[in-house]
């Protein structure tokens, strides 16, 4: 009896617009909104909740890396930090944020501001993030 092995395609599970890095969790992103949101500021945060840290599969929001967001005339500004000054995933994270937000028709651009004040510590992880980490077998002091 022959065995058929089905290989995944390169873009399996990924939205069509994603063409560069294939960071984990992109397959969980929602489809772009068909109607612009009533509260774009809140919608930005909801979008960012879908972007996972490449190394720890919880969202950037729950990890406490997002220090602020705003939207003005369609341009989203995201203030973000990193867990370490030499975080090897900085570019992946930035790219994921851009790609997630820019898939929305009501977003015309994304500005990322890297901030280091106050310094990130594990105290910034949200209760939801801690619970998710606990489920994954990771403790956060």
């Amino acid at each position: 009896m022959g065995i058929t092995v089905r290989m995944p395609t390169l873009d399996a599970g990924l939205p069509a617009h994603v063409s560069i890095h294939k960071s984990g969790g992109r397959d969980l992103w929602s489809e772009p909104m068909t109607v612009p949101p009533a509260d774009p500021g809140a919608a930005v945060v909801e979008c960012l909740k879908e972007v996972l840290d490449p190394e720890i599969p919880i969202s950037l929001v729950d990890l406490g890396l997002i220090y602020g967001t705003s939207i003005e005339e369609g341009v989203v500004t995201v203030q973000l930090t990193f867990t370490a000054t030499a975080c090897p995933c900085m570019e992946f994270i930035k790219e994921d944020i851009r790609d997630r937000l820019e898939q929305e028709s009501w977003v015309s651009g994304v500005r990322l501001e890297e901030v280091w004040d106050p310094p990130w510590t594990t105290a910034r992880i949200t209760p939801q993030g801690r619970e998710r980490l606990r489920q994954l077998g990771v403790g956060a002091v």
């Binding site: 280091w116 004040d117 106050p118």
Partner: protein, 260 residues
């Protein structure tokens, strides 16, 4: 802390002094990172090698943040990192050449990294806004480096390696302290502007962390500051990192592969 200070508010000579300070710190971190990375596979234990690798990663992250402060001077930090000749480097002399053995790595941790951290801590408390925003994160990461260095120092002090590590510390200390607190006009100018504390205060900060451990080895922390051969433009003693080191720091072999 008094009113935050931006580059635009500085006089020409203050700007020159501040740029020199940033380059001295960034270059030293860049090269110390290389020195630590060399020991991933040569440390006394696997765990220690991995720790050295993590410290190298931290140092390079810190260097990146420091170089990026030069944007506020209208400079491109990438050019500064990749396009300078070795004679322009302002690093502490102890990292000019590769560390000969593990004793020198430990001396690099406690003397060079320790001196940088003392200088950074004062810089973070001063009026330069970018420093007070960015350096606290670095200082948090440096706490692990300090603990690692002091643990190794205590361990070697009670072993056959005591003499060798003492020798390495004695070799690194004078040039590093003169680099950290030269006592020259540029240092005084920045202290006057409230950007950093006086050299004496920086020295005292360093001494408060390492004085006791060094004393146990019979080493006292004293400096007479910059000597006659001090290069005031770079803020370090004579000499420069060797060509191979600078080629690595600049990424010369991979120049055709840069994608940024």
């Amino acid at each position: 802390m008094s009113e935050p200070l931006s580059v635009d508010a500085l006089t020409d000579s203050q700007r020159t002094a501040l740029r020199r300070l940033i380059l001295r710190l960034a270059d030293t971190k860049r090269l110390l990172g290389i020195r630590f990375s060399d020991w991933l596979l040569g440390a006394p234990s696997i765990e220690t090698g991995i720790a050295a690798s993590s410290m190298a990663q931290d140092e390079w992250g810190h260097a990146r943040l420091l170089y990026s402060m030069l944007k506020s001077f209208g400079e491109d930090p990438v050019e500064v990192e990749r396009d300078r000749a070795r004679e322009a480097y302002a690093n502490a002399p102890a990292v000019d050449h590769e560390f000969a053995d593990w004793a020198e790595v430990v001396a690099g941790m406690v003397v060079v990294d320790g001196a940088m951290t003392a200088l950074l801590a004062g810089f973070a408390e001063g009026r330069f806004e970018l420093a007070s925003n960015r350096i606290p994160k670095m200082l948090g990461e440096e706490e692990f480096h300090r603990d690692m260095g002091l643990a190794w120092l205590r361990s070697l002090a009670g072993s056959a390696g005591r003499g060798r590590v003492t020798e390495a510390i004695r070799a690194f200390l004078p040039g590093t302290l003169a680099w950290m607190a030269p006592g020259d006009d540029a240092e005084a100018e920045l202290a006057e502007a409230g950007v950093i504390p006086s050299g004496a205060e920086t020295l005292e900060r360093f001494r408060s962390v390492y004085g006791e451990a060094f004393q146990a080895l019979g080493v006292s922390i004293e400096t007479s500051g910059a000597g006659d051969d001090f290069d005031a433009a770079r803020g370090r003693g004579p000499g420069a990192p060797d060509e191979e080191t600078v080629e690595r720091a600049r990424g010369d072999r991979n120049r055709a592969l840069f994608v940024e």
